[in-house]
Symmetry: D2
């Protein structure tokens, strides 16, 4: 799989006093879409693997805000696998409301052992995830 789409409705607690959705919430929306994509493949994001607790701390994230989101908006979020590294996954996200793009984001996550006494330790992507995700094919004109 390289692409997945899910929906969610903007909740009251997602907004701030400007009347718009708070910009930090977009990252929660992205993460939940990422998790839904993995859940659709039968993958649990936070699990035990080879005797360790593994998780996906973020290395870098970004978001561009194109048009504002408001309370009650019905959002469509598309997740795309942009890159599969040795220890990292990079996902791209597009937010749309009624066909217009509201935002675009990106998350690079590192597969890590969380409970190593020496601290977080990056590990090669476990096959049970790596084998199920493929980077999106280049669109015409990308190369």
């Amino acid at each position: 799989m390289y692409q997945f789409t899910t929906g969610r409705r903007i909740e009251f607690a997602d907004t701030d006093l400007s009347g718009l959705v708070h910009f930090s919430k977009y990252f929660v929306f992205m993460e939940t879409a990422e998790h839904e994509m993995l859940r659709s493949l039968g993958v649990t994001i936070h699990t035990r693997y080879e005797g360790f607790e593994i998780g996906w701390p973020r290395r870098a994230v970004s978001c561009e805000y194109v048009s504002p989101l408001r309370f009650g908006d019905q959002l469509e979020i598309t997740v795309q696998v942009e890159r599969k590294g040795r220890t990292t996954m990079t996902y791209g996200f597009t937010f749309e409301v009624e066909g217009r793009v509201a935002a675009r984001g990106r998350i690079t996550a590192i597969c890590c052992v969380l409970d190593d006494p020496t601290g977080l330790r990056a590990i090669p992507l476990p096959p049970f995830i790596a084998d199920q995700l493929e980077p999106a094919p280049l669109e015409a004109g990308d190369g």
Copy 2:
């Protein structure tokens, strides 16, 4: 100790589109004041004790909202120990802005082992906390 006071300023992300602080945030403010009280006594809220990971899941909480809080308000929060049970602590909270009461809340927390394979398990209050906290004396007229 039976009472502790701390301050905090309302942040932009604490508000919602009504222009007021979202009502769920008051519980975050209460919890952080509780933790600051314990930290002032040298107590870590989430720790290892007798070989287990212990924490303080909430059994019951409540809040009454008296006057609204807004972005930038400088809040004064008073924590009071209301009751010390066998496995529980009950804290009362008062929120004030410039001398007027904004809200009153209460949290009852249970001391639990978090990593018992059979699930959460309540335990008697560890002495390192119980010995440092005493219920507030009754005010004249309480009894």
Copy 3:
């Protein structure tokens, strides 16, 4: 209508380091269920009415936590109208996961004009809401 049920799945950002859902999030879940109930009746919670911006600040809220919620849990939330006052609505909430009760909560909201220059001002419930909601009938044994 006096009762409404909706679902939601626990997200990663709903949890805290204890591994459980943070207790403040239950209030966000309650509010969103309340709004979904009203949306199902065609009612917008935050709207203009008789020339003013009206909203529903909370007067009092509470929650009892029965069994913990964890990442990925599929939650069923039932909203019940407990009381319809002159200027207030009181809703009761039950959270269930796979048939077991996880929590019970309550919210009393006041219908207010938000943009009166003198501050928040409670007003009688607008008919477009009051006419559509009725308190739940007493269960046998309640009286």
Copy 4:
């Protein structure tokens, strides 16, 4: 002013089940540091100006996570003005704990009229902000 430093302590509700601070919270921390910088200059971020309600929706944000943050960490956040555009401000942020860098972030905000009936409308930076902030001087080697 082109640089400002502030502190904050990581709260329990900032964490998630991995035991680390949730990555979306860093953006709340950045925004609050931005607002504290402006408050230190006597500037209110959300105000009325020339008859309109103005605010600072975000155009683009990003964060790189260098080392994890945990409950109780005492954070030092430095805000730097990176660029002053015609309608935008770009701020850079550095997060440090006990002298080690934990994260670096960036926010570009657009000065907008929020209550124009036609929607958000970018406006030139008001002098009461633009006159008080200057981009940080280039460090040796930057050019």
